[in-house]
């Protein structure tokens, strides 16, 4: 029983950063902006979070710093693509490159320094209930944030007027503009929300997952988050499912290896990617519904006066 609980806990830790970054990117893409800079914002959040935590000794300040750094860094992308109408794909890619390089430079003095770890939630009494205690009441705070965030985004996008407006901008920015909606302002806020989420995901890496700073420590997780959004056809609950399927197969294959099943490890290593794609494609197989969910003006630059 213990091992099952441990495995579930490990899966949650592995899935959390993917989920947070993907939920953020989902909102960005729903507003019609494609930001390929998730990896860069994530790593900046990781170094910012580690640095602030390390210097102040408080992981909470670290986590807050990760969010702020992520949001500020995404502002760069917003100014370029929204105010200056640069190509979103190219700008997003350069944001990733810049983030990876810049974080390495900022983090030089943090290399080899043990950081601070965000403590797990521990509610006296409740956390010690067998099995469910640890799963429900004993995880790291970011896990709860990630679940709350998913629910909040789901509610915001589909149950609020502002969410509806945001989605309409993503579908047709010219129509929205004609209706007098401030397209650029909405998109600025969406991009910064995405940046804050990516930063938080990075903070999770350097303050919870592996409390340390090393260059490139995000190791491609930003790209996985990006792919999750597309394969989940821009639906929050599918992103949640995708992140957890990925996490489960990711952890499962490590256990399978440790258990000694005779399957080549290279195949097992590729399994999380395969499984996630297959499952999400199956859930999204209804072509019409998928078309409906795809933000139609995704990636297109918009200049209000044109």
């Amino acid at each position: 029983m213990d091992i099952t609980v441990n495995i579930l806990l490990t899966i949650a830790t592995a899935a959390t950063p993917l989920l947070i970054a993907a939920i953020g990117e989902l909102v960005v893409e729903r507003s019609g902006v494609l930001n390929l800079g998730v990896e860069g914002m994530m790593i900046m959040g990781a170094v910012g979070g580690f640095g602030a935590g390390y210097l102040t000794g408080s992981p909470w300040i670290g986590l807050l710093a990760a969010i702020i750094v992520g949001a500020l860094f995404s502002l760069l992308f917003a100014v370029m693509t929204l105010s200056l109408a640069t190509n979103q794909v190219a700008t997003g890619l350069s944001l990733t490159l810049l983030g990876l390089g810049l974080s390495g430079m900022i983090g030089t003095s943090f290399v080899g320094q043990p950081g601070v770890r965000l403590p797990n939630l521990d509610i006296p009494g409740l956390s010690s209930i067998p099995v469910v205690g640890k799963l429900i009441f004993g995880q790291d705070p970011v896990f709860y944030i990630s679940i709350a965030l998913t629910a909040a985004v789901m509610w915001f996008l589909f149950k609020t007027r502002t969410g509806l407006t945001l989605r309409s901008i993503g579908d047709s920015h010219t129509s929205a503009h004609a209706l007098g909606i401030k397209v650029i302002r909405y998109r600025y806020l969406a991009v910064m929300f995405g940046g804050a989420c990516a930063g938080l995901a990075g903070g999770h890496l350097s303050l919870v997952y592996t409390p340390q700073w090393v260059e490139n420590m995000s190791a491609g997780r930003g790209w996985i988050a990006l792919a999750l959004v597309v394969f989940a056809s821009w639906r929050p609950w599918r992103v949640l499912a995708g992140a957890y399927i990925f996490g489960a197969v990711w952890i499962g294959q490590l256990h399978a290896q440790a258990f000694g099943i005779p399957v080549p490890s290279q195949f097992l290593s590729s399994l999380p990617y395969l499984a996630t794609i297959v499952v999400l494609v199956l859930i999204s197989r209804n072509k019409r519904l998928t078309m409906m969910n795809t933000p139609a003006s995704l990636g297109q630059p918009f200049v209000p006066d044109r």
């Binding site: 091992i3 441990n6 495995i7 490990t10 830790t13 592995a14 950063p17 890619l93 990733t96 490159l97 990876l100 390089g101 390495g104 983090g107 030089t108 290399v111 080899g112 320094q113 043990p114 890496l205 997952y209 592996t210 409390p211 340390q212 700073w213 090393v214 260059e215 490139n216 420590m217 190791a219 491609g220 997780r221 790209w223 990711w250 952890i251 490590l254 256990h255 290896q257 440790a258 258990f259 000694g260 005779p262 080549p264 490890s265 290279q266 290593s269």
Partner: protein, 355 residues
């Protein structure tokens, strides 16, 4: 997508190098790393070696490096760029750079090339390596003494001879103390992914291992050991700060002395392509101070290190292969060629070697 990014980054890094080149009369020594120098592991240690060269040879040399160079076609361009930028001696520090270096070395016969951990040489291409397996034998002995369950978890990157050799040496060391010692192996198919290494460590601990060994570069696995109040071994650098109660020792690489001697030789004009394999006795493989263990285990580890420094090879018979067929006869010592091409397990390992 990541490959593309790394390619772009390599190019960008190489371009920025051009500016700092060209200093009059100095010998330019260059390094190519596969990871970031901030990995606090393998590439970090090579870069420490580079810094030692700068310190020791002062204004007679100028150094430069390219980091994050992926193994494969990108590496060709990295080496060629450095050669064109007047690097006189170039060190390629990863196994996967082998073919790239062979190719580029032929193109630039006046440049001196050195390749770490490979097996191909040329008229201007030497190879150097460290006998990490010597240290891993000692780790095996410590693990067998310290593990209460007689089971270690081993996190590994790719099934190349270097890694397989390490696993074999580890288990031979462990069996010399406890013949029934077992090891569970997890391949993470990456040299560097802290999150995945941590997950692998958790999986191995969850399945009953109480000691963790790694042949990957980050401190993540040791941090998991620290959290779970279990033990493990560091890799490449001394990682004691990350796991003050968990690290038993760390298998560290000290490339500085070798790099200094080779760059000095290049300065003196006496450089020749060489084929060296440095071990504990040369100081290239070092074990960090033995900690968190009783004195008798410490004494045993020290005695074994001394024995190996004295010339004893951990791959001394009798040793059988995994399937039980004899490999080394009693007293027979494995030759370096076999070790460098090692693609089989010795007896006592349950894992199936990925081919």
């Amino acid at each position: 997508m990541k490959k593309l990014l790394i390619a772009l980054m390599t190019t960008a890094a190489a371009l920025s190098l051009a500016a700092s080149a060209e200093a009059a009369g100095k010998l330019k020594a260059c390094w190519v790393y596969t990871g970031p120098i901030g990995d606090f592991g393998y590439s970090y240690q090579h870069d420490q070696g580079r810094l030692e060269v700068e310190k020791a040879l002062g204004d007679k040399v100028e150094t430069a490096y390219l980091e994050n160079v992926s193994e494969g076609p990108d590496a060709d361009r990295a080496f060629e760029r450095l050669a064109r930028e007047k690097c006189k001696i170039i060190f390629g520090t990863s196994f996967g750079f082998m073919d790239a270096e062979v190719k580029v070395a032929k193109k630039f016969p006046k440049v001196m090339f050195e390749h770490a951990t490979g097996f191909k040489t040329g008229g201007n291409l030497g190879i150097y390596n460290a006998r990490f397996y010597e240290g891993r034998y000692v780790l095996g002995q410590i693990a067998a003494k310290e593990s209460k369950k007689g089971l270690a978890g081993y996190i590994v990157s790719f099934p190349i001879p270097e890694v397989v050799m390490g696993i074999n040496s580890f288990i031979l060391g462990a069996q010399s103390v406890n013949p029934d010692f077992k090891v569970k192996i997890v391949w993470v198919n990456s040299w560097f992914d802290p999150g995945k290494e941590a997950d692998a460590a958790k999986a191995l601990f969850d399945q009953g291992a109480d000691i963790i060994v790694q042949h990957t570069d980050s401190t993540a696995a040791l941090q998991v050991a620290e959290e779970r109040k279990l033990h493990g071994f560091g890799q490449s650098s001394d990682m004691i700060k990350f796991a003050p109660n968990a690290q038993l020792t760390s298998l560290t690489d000290e490339w500085g002395p070798y790099y200094i001697s080779r760059v000095q030789a290049a300065l003196d004009g006496t450089w020749k392509p060489d084929n060296v394999w440095l071990g504990i006795k040369d100081g290239a493989v070092k074990l960090a101070p033995f900690t968190n263990m009783p004195d008798d285990v410490k004494a045993m580890a020290e005695a074994t290190s001394k024995k190996i420094a004295g010339g004893w090879n951990p791959f001394t018979g009798p040793v059988s292969k995994q399937d039980g067929s004899p490999w080394l006869k009693d007293g027979e010592v494995a030759d370096d060629g076999t070790l460098l091409g090692m693609n089989f397990y010795v007896k006592g390992i349950d894992d199936k070697l990925p081919q």
